[in-house]
């Protein structure tokens, strides 16, 4: 007799081929070259990073073709301290995942804040990108290993309140 069957594994999955489209491709090619490239809405002039392939969600018009280089420094607009261990975690908690408003961009991008104790991270803190060695670069924002404090004075809340 075999053991009674109580539980079965039922993995599911789908295999996609994903195509970036022209604007995201410019963004990804920029990352390969060590640049942070966004696109600007021709109507409201907001800069999206990463750029959207479609339209500016506020204006409903196609983003411009020209690349707009943003960063590499930016401002922490909001953040969370990760205290919970989970499967596949690469960094020992506690650490900080933050939304960073890169200089020149009008929308925050999420990344890691390292090089500072988690309880010292704050809204308005200035941070800069720490890139991996260029031999490891590919078409991914993981080319930036993390962000670290620049030591500049904090940004006033009113200066980024519109991007929260």
């Amino acid at each position: 007799m075999s053991d009674d069957v109580l539980r079965v594994r039922t993995p599911i999955g789908v295999d996609y081929g994903w195509t970036a489209g022209p604007r995201s491709t410019a963004y990804l090619q920029g990352l390969i070259d060590g640049k942070l490239l966004g696109k600007r809405c021709p109507t409201c002039t907001k800069v999206y990073f990463p750029p959207r392939n479609g339209t500016c969600p506020m204006c409903g018009v196609l983003l411009g073709d020209d690349d707009v280089e943003v960063g590499p420094a930016g401002t922490v607009t909001t953040f969370c301290v990760v205290n919970v261990p989970f499967l596949g975690q690469k960094i020992v908690p506690p650490y900080v995942a933050a939304t960073i408003l890169l200089d020149g961009a009008d929308i925050g991008v999420q990344h890691l804040i390292l090089g500072i104790d988690a309880d010292k991270v704050r809204m308005g803190m200035r941070v800069e990108a720490v890139w991996k060695d260029s031999s490891q670069w590919g078409p991914t924002l993981e080319n930036i290993d993390h962000f670290q404090p620049t030591g500049e004075p904090d940004v006033e809340f009113t200066d980024y309140a519109g991007q929260l």
Binding site: V5, L6, T10
Partner: protein, 170 residues
């Protein structure tokens, strides 16, 4: 890192110049099966079929947990043969990864001897010419399979081993 990953960047260019890359979205679910399917799957792991009997005497395989007529929980079980008759079938010329066999096969509705319902599974034959409604088939089980339907690999024609009808599964 392997040699392959050193040369393969993991992406390519589409005809319009866009980056393109494979993207796999998958979840490693598992689930409990409950007492009725648990007993059925335990039977499969032992190379046999068990079925539930309804209030009207109908024999259900896969087992019904509740009587389709009265709604009452069913707790009468019978053993069922591992052979049966093909009630209907459809050819699968290009199997996908998740399907039971890795080569072309037939989907079959098999009514096992002693059952009053048909079981959807697959039949291992080399070509659709070997399939016929009403043909006799038997189950082929997998020893040591993970718990679940994978213990039942497929059905195969009875008498095929004699070599007629292109029954080459070597």
């Amino acid at each position: 890192m392997t040699d392959a990953s050193d040369t393969d960047p993991g992406y390519a260019l589409a005809p319009d110049g866009s980056f393109t890359a494979p993207l796999t979205l998958a979840y490693p679910y598992s689930r409990t099966v409950g007492p009725t399917y648990g007993r059925f799957l335990t039977g499969l792991a032992e190379g046999r079929f068990v079925a539930t009997v309804g209030s009207d005497g109908r024999v259900f395989v896969p087992p019904a947990e509740f009587d389709p007529t009265t709604g009452q929980a069913l707790d009468q079980w019978v053993d069922i043969a591992a052979e049966g008759t093909v009630e209907s079938w459809s050819w699968q010329p290009e199997p996908s990864d998740a399907q039971p066999l890795d080569h072309p096969f037939a989907w079959v509705l098999v009514r096992l001897d002693g059952a009053d319902t048909a079981l959807l599974h697959v039949c291992d034959v080399p070509d659709p010419g070997a399939m016929e409604t009403g043909m006799r088939v038997r189950a082929r089980f997998v020893d040591g399979a993970d718990p679940g339907m994978g213990a039942l690999e497929c059905f195969e024609p009875i008498g095929d081993d004699a070599g007629n009808d292109g029954g080459d599964r070597s």
